[in-house]
């Protein structure tokens, strides 16, 4: 199955981890990348500006009902869950927190698993909670591929460890290995 989309979840230490992966992606990377980072519920999304400067791909905050475009990195807005609709658009929700988080990684991963099935790869990175574990399990159950930052290399190992425990089929990788692995999955 051709790769159709990438979802990434990161928490404590996540900005640094993402800074090693996202800027390495080439400008012609042909699928959308959707990212949830646990951030405080303030209105301005500093992540978009930060990564727009570092990345060759377009970077923006995901908007409600926005059609999902290839070659774009989307960040979930602060204080909203980000979901993927089966028609290939985003939806936001202000439902209660999941794993004490809004946005929650599980919410993005589970909805994206429904929308993309085997065409999805999910990546769980460093973090101090268990968000993303159930989502990665759902993603793999729908035929998608799971990647987890190798716990020993993560700034905080709790979240990668929980993801590997919930989803043993996922592959543990160092940050340096993730971008080439994604490149190998896409067709050009």
């Amino acid at each position: 199955m051709t790769l159709q989309a990438v979802v990434i979840g990161a928490s404590a230490g996540g900005v640094q981890a993402l800074s090693q992966v996202l800027p390495a992606l080439p400008a012609d990377f042909p699928v959308p990348i959707m990212v949830v980072v646990h951030i405080p519920p303030r209105r301005d999304n500093a992540l978009v500006d930060l990564f727009a400067r570092k990345c060759r791909l377009a970077v923006k905050e995901a908007e409600d009902k926005e059609p999902i475009a290839s070659g774009t990195i989307y960040f979930a807005p602060p204080d909203y869950h980000l979901l993927v609709e089966t028609g290939g658009t985003f939806a936001l929700s202000s439902d209660e927190t999941v794993n004490h988080s809004r946005p929650a990684i599980d919410v993005l991963f589970e909805s994206a698993a429904d929308a993309y099935g085997p065409g999805l790869v999910g990546i769980v990175m460093t973090g101090a909670n268990h968000d993303g574990a159930q989502g990665l399990r759902a993603l793999c159950a729908a035929g998608g591929q799971g990647i987890v930052q190798a716990p020993a290399t993560a700034e905080v190992a709790t979240m990668p460890e929980a993801a590997l425990a919930a989803c043993p089929a996922a592959r543990a990788m160092t940050l340096e290995e993730i971008e080439p692995a994604l490149e190998a999955m896409v067709e050009r």
């Binding site: 209105r43 908007e63 409600d64 009902k65 807005p77 909203y80 979901l83 993927v84 609709e85 089966t86 939806a91 936001l92 929700s93 202000s94 439902d95 209660e96 919410v107 589970e110 909805s111 429904d114 929308a115």
Partner: protein
């Protein structure tokens, strides 16, 4: 045909059938709600209410109407905060209130009021600005339990610290504690705040416009609707507002793609406050 051919999972079929059943039997219409969130909530209801499948919920709710209120709580109830996004309320206070002051009487509609946090925020703001006496609030929701909670105006005391901070950041010039009484672990908001509020069962999906509103506040409701339903509701708001009336929506919502966008002009763009055009 197998699932790989139709591309539709059994769960998706079950959800569609349940939503059809709720509409046909109870006239609750969730068929044009954004599907990914509805699915999440129904799966949560299935687990927490102890059913094996969405179909089992459908059977239960059709044959036993006492199941309906419990299901509605999953499908509709929003957790909100008083003065959520303080800058929105600051913009209302600083930019919208001066216009509203010019009217001898005012009507304000809190559409989809849920448990009432937004209603009490506005009631406090209008009281602080000296407009409470000339204002009638309409607080509407489709969930009777939410309307009862809004009418009661009681919130857990552990949420008050957040509400107080939000209120302060919104430019509030009273103390939030002037407006409630602490009772064990609950904060009971003053009856005076809702003396001039009409609580009403109203569906944005199936019911008609309300007349001659000066301000409609409807935050984080439109994100739960699909495009088609968003269009209907924005049209309903345009119809319900006086010319020159104001509409406030959630900070991540927009009228940009709406079929009725031409009825509105940006008023405070960053805060998603729009003004109904005069023509």
């Amino acid at each position: 045909m197998d699932a790989a051919v139709t591309g539709e999972s059994i769960e998706d079929i079950e959800i569609q059938l349940l939503l059809d059943a709720l509409y046909r039997h109870y006239h609750y219409d969730f068929r044009h709600y954004a599907r990914a969130s509805i699915k999440r909530r129904l799966l949560q209801a299935r687990t927490q209410l102890g059913y094996d499948s969405i179909s089992a919920i459908q059977s239960a709710v059709l044959h036993d109407e006492t199941i309906l209120p419990r299901l509605l709580n999953y499908l509709t109830v929003q957790v909100s905060e008083m003065f959520r996004d303080p800058s929105y309320f600051r913009a209302l206070r600083e930019k919208v209130i001066p216009h509203l002051r010019t009217y001898p009487s005012l009507k304000v509609w809190v559409a989809g009021c849920s448990n009432g946090e937004e209603l009490y925020s506005l009631a406090i703001l209008f009281a602080e600005e000296g407009l409470a006496e000339r204002t009638i609030f309409y607080a509407t929701d489709i969930n009777p339990a939410a309307l009862r909670a809004a009418q009661a105006g009681i919130y857990p005391l552990d949420r008050i610290r957040l509400f107080t901070e939000n209120h302060r950041l919104s430019g509030g010039h009273s103390s939030l504690s002037d407006h409630y009484t602490a009772d064990y672990d609950r904060a009971v908001f003053d009856k005076s705040l809702r003396e001039r509020t009409v609580f009403s069962d109203h569906s944005l999906v199936t019911d008609a416009a309300f007349g001659e509103m000066h301000l409609i506040s409807c935050r984080n409701v439109l994100i739960y609707f699909d495009r088609e339903l968003q269009d209907r509701v924005v049209g309903l708001f345009a119809e319900s507002l006086v010319r020159g009336g104001f509409l406030g929506i959630g900070s991540k919502e927009s009228l940009r793609f709406s079929a009725h966008a031409d009825h509105f002009a940006d008023f405070v763009g960053d805060e998603r406050i729009y003004r109904r055009n005069v023509r």
